[in-house]
Symmetry: C2
Subunit: 143 residues, 2 copies
């Protein structure tokens, strides 16, 4: 299990289009699969119009919300792959030109209704790559 540096982690995250938005809803942990693109270092996700996602967004001039975002490609059979977790402030995209651009870039695979976009500015980026399965044989479980 090799740790990924920030640039490798963001590059891998940008190589796929599906991730999971993690937030707090009514003081409980909540998670939704969403579609994303990477715009520079920012993660921009498409919001469906559900109350769950809307509830986490603050107006652009209001307080920002801290969210986590996770994406992975892991082959459970061969124990290979990677996972990246980004933690940062999320804010609604409210600039009309930006919103139009993101609507073209973000493919609406879950919902086809009009959607908002949320930008996550990564403060903390962590990730790992599973590169070696042979270690598992060498370090046997105590049982």
């Amino acid at each position: 299990m090799r740790p990924l540096d920030r640039s490798d982690a963001l590059r891998l995250l940008g190589s796929i289009s599906l991730g999971r938005l993690v937030f707090t809803q009514h003081a409980l942990p909540a998670v939704r699969p969403v579609n994303h693109i990477l715009d520079g270092e920012d993660i921009v996700i498409r919001l469906s119009d559900g109350a769950a996602l809307a509830s986490l967004t603050a107006p652009a001039d209001g307080p920002e919300t801290v969210v986590a975002y996770e994406a992975d490609v892991i082959d459970p059979d061969h124990h290979l792959g990677w996972s990246v977790v980004v933690t940062g402030y999320a804010r609604l995209v409210d600039d009309p030109a930006e919103l139009e651009r993101y609507k073209r870039l973000l493919r609406p695979w879950v919902t086809c209704s009009m959607a908002a976009a949320l930008r996550i500015r990564p403060e903390l980026v962590t990730g790992f790559q599973l590169t070696d399965t042979i270690q598992c044989t060498a370090t046997a479980l105590p049982d």
Copy 2:
């Protein structure tokens, strides 16, 4: 996007071995990919020995922690698949016989070191299945 009932959602979750544990760490949303099995309706996950996962677990005789658990199989190209989110109380498995059993059942694909097991008792189970891509053509985006 068809909602899944509880039994279908848990059946789908039990059909795969990878999911994402969602919890609160230092008052911030946190997420880790983990390995799971379904034991009855309980989700049992393998914990690596990292501080992140250890910090969310309470002793079995102490207060329980609320977590969310998400698993999905989504084909981003064909916009088909499913996602299930379980919310419930998590508690360390501390019965030695149970722990031995889970260690045999849970394949240590991320770490090969000794690990603990965490049991999540589902209070709330939600899920959806993406069954129809034709709706996306009928309901075009406003842009």
